[in-house]
């Protein structure tokens, strides 16, 4: 009995061993072929797939494959045509006329027309609909149907982000009589995009199938599966095991710094996967509370930035997998001013600035100053939200570096909800480390405009600069790229001078894709463009869709 069992076990082990192909086959190119399945994962499930109600990453990622917009961003972060073949902007910049593509069908076969665009606008501006991103549509005065494939959108004032609106078009015929907030559309979305919704097993997986009538060409990869894997280490093990095909290619996700650095020791990663290092659309920063007298003076903030060795932070917090950040724009964006230079790491210069501002080194190794007749040490608390290891490491390194120039920093790691509601929203903090996820457009009005300081708004450091206020408002009203560029370059210069944040770094996006997939080019902006062109050659396909 036992001997039989052992025999079965041996056979099983051999069988599973034989099932794996020699990885060298995946290095070969191959002719375009249909078939195969792309399996990727996210750390948490979507809450809804109704694009009007979506506010979380997973839902937005899936909707990006199911829906199209009138326009979209290309791999150079420039707006390009999508469901709108072309558009005309009026001389006064207040009207955009879209000329829509003909012959586009929703997944249920009904044709896409201008009435769907009008319907989408009505839904986003309906006060009874719980749409998180409706505020962007408030600048629109009127949407008019000029013909079955022509739509005229009139704005109250010129609006720079106008062309990025209407990024998911809803099917009017399926939603017009329904209550958007509770409609089953949230669990069974229908759009015009390259992939159709198939099934959603809550907290397990979401399955999409290729749309054979997609207007850009039927996708070669016939099925896409998004698995929910809440733990990043498990995700990596699944990658090594072949349970998922990629990390960070189609959906949000990234290898950790350790996993990337150790890849030469991980043959299973190196042999089967192409690993790419690009820049993510985000940055990590240290925010100084300008309501705190310690950080009121911009010279002090400049000195603090000079006392922090950002290269050392990048090296030790994220294994060198990031770049120093000087401004609030995506890496490589046209909005970055090439003339802006990062403050150098110069602790001696920083000490001189502190001394000039009246700070004297005390016997305890900490700077002291007489503020309002009270002897005040240069001592503050740095709060960070729990969950991201790189931020905790950065905080520790910064604490050490500031100690060298005589500043005592206490670090406090807080649970996310407490951090937000009790400290940040109430502005009860000295300094904090967080990050911003960026959109392709450089507009940062909500973050730096001086009137965005109310509860639930985003100028948490209470930064106030009249020139920047004017520039931010102007940037939103100008449509000409060259003029906008001048505006954002100026904002970049001023922010670098004033250091409301010490911009820390832009972390790298570390993507791993199974070698069998071809037909794509990696862009530096972590954007998935043309998913319908990806394919796996017939001989290398792994799954039957």
């Amino acid at each position: 009995m036992l001997r039989n069992l052992a025999l079965i076990l041996v056979v099983l082990v051999i069988a599973t061993g034989c099932a794996k192909k020699d990885p060298k086959i995946y290095d070969q190119p191959g002719p375009v072929a249909d078939g195969d399945v792309m399996i990727e994962s996210e750390l948490s499930d979507a809450k809804t797939l109704n694009p009007v109600l979506v506010s979380e990453i997973a839902g937005a990622d899936i909707d990006g494959l199911i829906f199209n917009g009138l326009t979209r961003y290309n791999d150079k972060l420039v707006i390009e045509p999508c469901l709108a073949e072309k558009w005309k902007v009026s001389k006064d910049n207040k009207t955009v006329t879209y000329y829509l593509r003909r012959g586009v069908k929703f997944h249920d076969g009904v044709e896409f027309t201008a009435s769907d665009v009008l319907f989408t606008y009505q839904v986003y501006t309906d006060p009874t609909v719980n749409t998180p991103e409706g505020a962007q549509y408030q600048d629109i005065k009127n949407v008019e149907i000029m013909g079955p494939y022509e739509v005229k959108v009139t704005y109250k004032r010129p609006f720079a982000l106008a062309l990025a609106l209407f990024d998911t078009i809803l099917p009017k015929h399926l939603l017009e009589d329904k209550d958007i907030n509770t409609s089953d559309f949230a669990r069974h979305p229908v759009g015009t995009g390259p992939y159709k919704f198939v099934e959603w097993k809550t907290d397990q997986k979401i399955v999409l199938a290729a749309n054979p009538d997609y207007w850009e060409g039927a996708p070669h990869i016939k099925k896409v599966v998004m698995r929910i894997i809440p733990d990043q280490t498990t995700q990596f093990l699944e990658l090594l095991n072949g349970g998922i095909d990629s990390v960070g290619a189609w959906f949000h996700g990234t290898l950790s710094a350790e996993q990337y650095t150790r890849q030469s020791n991980t043959p299973k990663l190196k042999d089967y996967y192409n690993v790419y290092k690009t820049h993510s659309l985000e940055y990590t920063y240290l925010g100084w509370n300008e309501l705190n007298p310690l950080f009121k003076d911009k010279k002090i903030r400049q000195a603090l930035t000079m006392a922090i060795d950002r290269d050392a932070v990048i090296q030790n917090a994220i294994n060198g997998l990031g770049s120093v950040c000087t401004g609030p724009y995506p890496y490589g964006s046209w909005a970055n001013n090439p003339k802006v230079k990062a403050w150098p790491y110069d602790p001696d210069k920083a000490k001189k600035v502190f001394a000039k501002a009246g700070w004297k080194m005390g016997a305890d190794g900490i700077l002291h100053k007489n503020i309002n007749h009270k002897d005040t040490p240069f001592h503050f608390t740095l709060v960070i939200p729990q969950g991201k290891v790189d931020r905790e490491r950065s905080a520790t390194i910064i604490q050490q570096q500031l100690k060298q120039v005589g500043i005592q920093v206490d670090i406090q790691v807080l649970e996310w909800t407490t951090f937000l509601s009790q400290y940040i929203e109430k502005k009860k903090f000295d300094a904090y480390i967080m990050g911003w996820s960026l959109t392709p457009d450089p507009d940062c009005y909500p973050i730096f405009h001086s009137d965005q300081v109310k509860e639930h708004q985003f100028n948490m450091v209470s930064y106030k600069n009249k020139t920047v206020d004017t520039l931010l408002s102007e940037g939103r009203r100008v449509l000409d790229q060259k003029t906008r560029q001048k505006i954002y370059w100026r904002i970049h210069t001023i922010l670098n001078e004033e250091q409301p944040y010490t911009f820390l770094y832009i972390p790298n996006q570390l993507t791993a894709i199974h070698k069998r997939f071809k037909g794509y080019t990696m862009n530096d902006f972590d954007l998935l463009t043309h998913p319908e062109q990806w394919y796996a050659p017939k001989a290398q396909q792994k799954y039957i869709p």
């Binding site: 962007q136 498990t234 299973k268 929203e425 909500p446 985003f458």
Partner: protein, 323 residues
């Protein structure tokens, strides 16, 4: 017995009521609220949306009104809609409960089948090499962090040897398999989480079994049984074991909340869609209807489980009678 049962079942109502009030209060004590949390740090969101959402969730109303609405709905077995995806709470919980029950249930059975004999043999051969080995082995299981053992097992069996899947409840190809293929697939995915769950519990149960057995073995009636000339097998299994099992039943009863509540750590590591992760995520996101629903259902099942434990006492120990 019947009066005892009726009394216990009736007592459930005030008990559940008390639990719900306490949970409701504690839940609202935590700082922050779900609407703001939902869209935190999303620069495209206007604060007026947060107010809209608060009205939609009814969290802008005073606490006692919120509780009263919840209680009224509960009378019709309507647990409300989950804040996360607007689906009925009862449905969400019932989707996740079986996954946890299967894992915990099999784990308890395995524990019983492995740990109890382990402990009893250790008591029988007290201070022998076997006894010491069992002690060390179970304490290693008790002290190693569950997530670390999970990752090691995943690495070994999943990645290195490739004989077991790494995570999840079903494999990528599961949908295309016939029913027996699906069952086999499910069983494969169950093995590693089951091992980790069981190994952690081995120590306490086997130690209790050992201690309990040691006490029982020293009793006079055991000496009498041996003196009567009964076989050793008879003495151990017919006379000693039932008495030694009584504290074990208590232990099983005490472990019921964890049994139904599931383990967040193991479920997160193995991507096992169970109750542990559900309630943890609900708490973190302040998903009030889901939290209340989970609390009530877990409390209900725990109370019923304790009732079952008490009834099994009376079966095991003829001295215990209920009326």
């Amino acid at each position: 017995m019947r009066k005892f049962l009726i009394r216990r079942l009736l007592m459930m109502i005030p008990l559940l009521l008390g639990i719900s009030i306490l949970s409701f209060l504690i839940m609202h004590l935590a700082p922050g609220e779900p609407a703001a949390l939902d869209v935190a740090m999303n620069t495209k969101v206007d604060p007026s949306y947060i107010q809209k959402l608060q009205a939609f969730y009814e969290i802008d109303k005073p606490l006692h009104i919120q509780y009263w609405h919840w209680l009224k709905r509960l009378a019709t077995l309507d647990f409300g809609l989950s804040f996360k995806d607007n689906r009925p709470v009862l449905r969400v919980i019932l989707e996740r409960l079986p996954a946890t029950l299967v894992l915990s249930g099999l784990s308890e059975i395995l524990l019983f089948l492995i740990a109890v004999p382990l402990g009893i043999m250790a008591a029988y051969y007290q201070n022998s090499l076997y006894d010491r080995f069992v002690t060390v082995f179970s304490f290693i299981g008790y002290s190693t962090p569950a997530f670390w053992i999970s990752l090691l097992l995943m690495l070994l069996f999943g990645v290195q040897w490739g004989v077991l899947p790494v995570s999840g409840m079903f494999g990528n190809d599961a949908d295309f398999l016939p029913w027996y293929g699906k069952l086999w697939d499910f069983a494969q995915h169950l093995i590693l989480p089951l091992c980790v769950t069981t190994y952690g519990g081995l120590a306490s149960i086997s130690r209790y079994a050992r201690t309990s057995m040691l006490e029982v073995i020293r009793q006079d009636y055991i000496r009498t049984a041996r003196a009567k000339g009964l076989s050793e097998f008879n003495v151990i299994f017919h006379h000693a074991l039932p008495n030694a099992l009584i504290p074990i039943v208590t232990l099983v009863g005490l472990s019921l909340p964890g049994f139904i509540g599931g383990s967040v750590i193991i479920e997160s590591i193995f991507s096992w869609p169970g109750m542990g992760r559900l309630s943890y995520e609900a708490i973190l996101s302040h998903n009030y209807p889901l939290i209340m629903g989970t609390v009530i259902i877990v409390a209900l099942l725990t109370i019923l489980g304790n009732l079952l434990a008490d009834i099994s006492y009376s079966l095991l120990d003829p001295r215990i009678k209920y009326d």
